[in-house]
């Protein structure tokens, strides 16, 4: 028994030694030498790519640049991009990726289930209206105007949270499982106004200007995006350090300008 105990202690110590040696040398990714990144495209500006089953081919966008930047900082040469639907992203438990970039706002509730990296983007909520609303001259100028419209949102987003718990629109909001479905509903007039992160709606409008009415404005919510990791992930200190470096060396600012080039501070604020 004693021998066993000594052996167990030795093993435990050895493991601890390896673990503490870890951070200095190789980042603890799921598969050594590979960074597995979760995405849920499309979010114009942030990430677009071709979906092949669970794999995302040729992804491009701001979040892809950030992911590649982090990998470079961690000295990892290989990145695999996998699709992880946003509606299951904050489920508690182990994740099938090292970190996921899905325009995820850092919230206290979500932090109970997952770990977030240091923020890599700041955003507010935006309101994109349908062409029908624009042609009827009913583009909302205030939150009380917005309340009178058929509002829609995506499930599990801070936008939906805002609509249900702060805005309280007159008609029951329509809730879609994907961003794409909500944009389709907006395009075909089922939905009057889509409440979603302002960079996402603004970029979508910029890509397909004739499909929608104008971006009516933004609602100041001061949200910060973080990459999602399994709760208590050992990779977090590495990722945080990398994001801080990318922020101070100007890469983050450069990529934001490259992919968005929209001056959000000039957008009308709905109050």
């Amino acid at each position: 028994m004693k021998v066993l105990l000594v052996a167990a202690t030795a093993v435990a110590l050895a493991t601890a030694a390896v673990a503490s040696a870890g951070p200095a040398s190789t980042p603890p990714t799921m598969h050594p030498g590979v960074l597995t990144v979760g995405l849920d495209p499309p979010a114009v500006g942030f990430q677009v790519g071709t979906l092949r089953g669970q794999k995302v081919l040729n992804p491009r966008g701001y979040e892809i640049d950030v992911a590649k930047g982090i990998a470079a900082q961690l000295k990892i040469s290989k990145i695999t991009f996998v699709k992880v639907p946003f509606v299951v992203l904050f489920r508690p438990g182990a994740k099938p990726f090292d970190l996921a970039f899905e325009e995820s706002t850092i919230t206290v509730a979500r932090q109970k289930a997952v770990s977030f990296s240091a923020p890599y983007f700041a955003a507010n909520q935006g309101v994109l209206v349908s062409k029908k609303i624009a042609s009827e001259g009913k583009v909302p100028k205030s939150l009380s105007d917005l309340r009178q419209l058929q509002v829609c949102a995506q499930a599990v987003t801070t936008g939906l949270d805002y609509v249900q718990h702060r805005l309280h629109p007159a008609k029951r909001p329509l809730i879609y499982q994907t961003t794409a479905a909500a944009f389709t509903a907006l395009q075909n007039g089922s939905c009057d106004a889509f409440v979603m992160d302002v960079p996402i709606v603004a970029s979508q409008k910029k890509t397909k200007p004739s499909a929608y009415g104008p971006v009516a404005g933004q609602i100041i919510t001061n949200e910060k995006y973080g990459a999602v990791m399994t709760k208590g992930s050992k990779l977090k200190p590495f990722v945080d350090r990398a994001i801080r470096t990318l922020t101070t060396n100007g890469s983050i600012a450069k990529w934001q300008k490259k992919w968005f080039n929209i001056n959000f501070s000039k957008l009308h604020v709905l109050k």
Partner: protein, 235 residues
């Protein structure tokens, strides 16, 4: 164990989530009642069309077969997506400006009418041909024989499988959430995703069960009644 109970059966979460889920569940009930009434009527019509005699009715019969084959074989979720996301974009007057609720009921009706048509047809075919011939020989027309002799027996026979399909329809109203309809499962999902508590799903599940149990007992009752009646006739 405590964590399990807390995640799925938290009394605190129950109080928070119940009003929303109940509110959403009323939408499920509305969808279900509307769809079931439409299905009953349309399915009977299509089953009768499939049984029409004569060469002249061939195109109608063919249409009925194509319809049942197509919609019995298509997953409901696909039909819901096609109607709710596809139709509004076409700009067809009267069709393209409906609410997701209407598209949801339409999807349920299209798919379940195809199932129930087959149920009705089985019932109609189970009535022995001699009955129809006897009715015709008494001077009843084809329509009268169908109306007064065949259908009453056929419908009575298929009530249990028909109600079984309706249990399926009731549960499938949850699928309509993909069309943007805010029903019980969506409300449960919203709560679950904000608080990482799944009591809402349990609440929705229990509500669905409570809805189907009376239907199941009613079916049992009908079956037993028919058995008794047939035994009385035989005796």
């Amino acid at each position: 164990m405590h964590r399990f109970l807390e995640a799925f059966f938290s009394p605190h979460a129950f109080r928070q989530v119940f009003p929303d889920v109940w509110n959403g569940f009323q939408t499920n009930i509305r969808m279900m009642v509307l769809a079931e009434l439409l299905v009953l009527a349309f399915a009977l019509a299509i089953a009768v069309i499939r049984g029409l005699p004569g060469r002249g009715a061939w195109p109608l019969r063919a249409l009925a077969v194509v319809y049942t084959d197509a919609f019995r074989g298509t997953p409901l979720i696909l039909v819901a997506y096609m109607l709710a996301l596809g139709l509004p974009g076409l700009g067809i007057h009267g069709i393209s400006n409906r609410s997701p609720f209407v598209y949801g009921v339409a999807a349920l009706t299209l798919v379940y009418t195809a199932y129930v048509t087959e149920v009705y047809r089985a019932g109609i075919e189970s009535v022995h041909g001699s009955q129809r011939m006897a009715a015709r020989s008494l001077g009843l027309s084809y329509g009268q024989a169908l109306r007064y002799v065949v259908l009453p027996q056929a419908v009575r026979r298929v009530v249990p499988p028909l109600l079984n399909d309706f249990v399926g329809l009731q549960k499938d109203t949850a699928i309509i959430s993909v069309a943007g309809v805010t029903e019980a499962t969506v409300q449960a999902q919203n709560f679950g995703s904000s608080y990482f508590n799944y009591t809402g799903y349990v609440v929705a599940g229990v509500l669905f069960i409570f809805l189907t149990i009376p239907l199941a007992r009613f079916t049992d009752h009908l079956v037993r009644e028919r058995e008794l009646r047939e035994r009385a006739l035989a005796g």
